[in-house]
Symmetry: C2
Amino acid sequence: MKQQIKLLVLAVAFAGNIPLGFGQQSNKVIEDFKPSSVNQSEKEYPQVNSEGRVRVQISAPEANKVQLDIGAVKYDLVKDENGVWTGESAPQDVGFHYYQLNIDGASVPDPGSLYFYGASRWGSGIEIPAKDDEFYSLKNLPHGEVRENIYYSKTNDALRRCFIYTPPGYQENLEKRYPVLYLQHGGGENETGWSSQGHANLIMDNLIAEGKSEPFIIVMDNGTWRMPENSPSADRSKGTWPPEGWAGNFMNTLLNDIIPMVDAKFRTIPDANHRAMAGLSMGGMQTRIVTLAHPEVFSYVGMFSGGSISPEDIEKFPAFKDEIKTLFISYGSSELENRRSGFGGDPKANTQALAEKGLDTHFYVSPNTAHEWQSWRRSLYEFAPLLFKN
Amino acid sequence: MKQQIKLLVLAVAFAGNIPLGFGQQSNKVIEDFKPSSVNQSEKEYPQVNSEGRVRVQISAPEANKVQLDIGAVKYDLVKDENGVWTGESAPQDVGFHYYQLNIDGASVPDPGSLYFYGASRWGSGIEIPAKDDEFYSLKNLPHGEVRENIYYSKTNDALRRCFIYTPPGYQENLEKRYPVLYLQHGGGENETGWSSQGHANLIMDNLIAEGKSEPFIIVMDNGTWRMPENSPSADRSKGTWPPEGWAGNFMNTLLNDIIPMVDAKFRTIPDANHRAMAGLSMGGMQTRIVTLAHPEVFSYVGMFSGGSISPEDIEKFPAFKDEIKTLFISYGSSELENRRSGFGGDPKANTQALAEKGLDTHFYVSPNTAHEWQSWRRSLYEFAPLLFKN
């Protein structure tokens, strides 16, 4: 019976993201809320129930209106006699989501949650437990390190920061050298995303402990780029992006500063056979542009919710087919259904066409997720075992 | 003229932290506000002026009352015709301060600032530029790394996290082994404090580049402890702390789990001659208890705003005087003036008495700062050059 209600509510929510306010829906809400796993220490709220609803609570005795803003929907909270406001959202997809509170018109982080960088701001995040969360959970097994690395970039004439994951054993086996994956975040995110909300380090620790992946280094840098004002081709509404501008600066930084710095400072195997690039969303689109232009630098390519490589791309950049050993394309199931047409063509058809041309391709769809971190965690989990095995 | 006004306002503010609201004081405010150096990317507010005032701004069209809460004082903001609230604080000490906004009774982080862990919550922080900020600023010179390190603790039967600073050259000189400083945060803070608001890594990078400090590893773990309920000696109001309880758990974790883990995983020189412990506030008090009880484990001791070692301590723990090579005690100047009496005795007199007994002691006072991060940054800067030279 509970299951039926849940499916019904999900169906309603899916039909058009109708706000389901607290109160009207209270007879349908399952009362098994627990504090979110990404709450600040000892904070009781926000909470999540088995339907994936998010319940928030905040004391604001003098406020007129308080809302929970999650998944592009605002849900009204209700005030009790002590001035404490409470309310919950419609069920959310499993995995990680950004959200915020709105207090009398002010958008602010929830003081109960930990904070994450996404949507171009540091703000609240919540974790909806997933049945498959075991692959990114913290376990008592050998752990790699995530290192904050500061370096000078000639391309930008600036000091920059990246995070570098070194796998378990890196500190002990001082003779051993390792392959490297350059792994990029999405638009409005930064170099912290993959090791914070992405759990890239835990995904790798778990895969390596089970013998499912080679140990390798992961470099997570900041690929943020701003559309130059008055750029003639800077019209996102037409689906055209200015490749030189938006990926060009990061491409130069990656090729001329980041890769040489990593090869000098870390015990890498500094050749194309032992170098991969992948990214999510904007980072996937950057991966596409960088690896089409410079397939001689990389052997493995992953694009998570970030487009695909088409037969036309291969005609323009024929070296890609000869140099790249493995191409991995992935999407969340629901974003694939709603994919904007005209943006680089159908990713599944493109990938199939490349397979027919003899490229080792992999097409993965994350079940029941959208353009969000659960799709990208799963994508890394599927992609990593393919790397550096050829 | 401006200088006179500044001194006057400082004097007033010092006299008893009188709230200086926006509006009444506007004729005295110097209009040279700039965005804080710890703002989120591209955020214009919060801002700081040359007097050290903090100005915040937030859009909250439907709010009745918005306040800036900093330094235990709440300052009313004023609303303009667009629903944007603005206001500023009295001048603050140079360095780092925690703060928050209060919107109709809700205490929330400022969406313009970066977030820091302190006062037992993740929340807003602000940086008041200091004339001596050069020693912790980011420069183009060799940088060490700050590494997130996950490990299993038998004492707690739990996976824990610490941050470990490895100095420049650690990755290149694979034969070299290094001394270690165990460096603790204060109450309501955690293992992120020293490398985030404390800038311990930048302080060390700069000292090492100038040849003023030996390169060494720094381990920053979480010393948070909770007063057991119903503990007979758990009465902070009387100035008595239960040593076994409040420092005991962290002492056991440090001695039995953290130090062996660090010595196994990092290229340390694993003996007492090459091991130091220091901490700020609660971390200083933990340093006192741990090093008095186990002087055979450490050779260098630093207590920043965290009490001192008295002649009575040395009588109780005579090995301390024989084993410890250097004892460093420090305070912010204004907290020293207002120091609670009866808490471990006068730190300067205690330190002088120990010097007369033949111990190598150092007593440092941070000018014009209180119980706050600028005192502790300066303390580390003064302490580090004393280490591992004997």
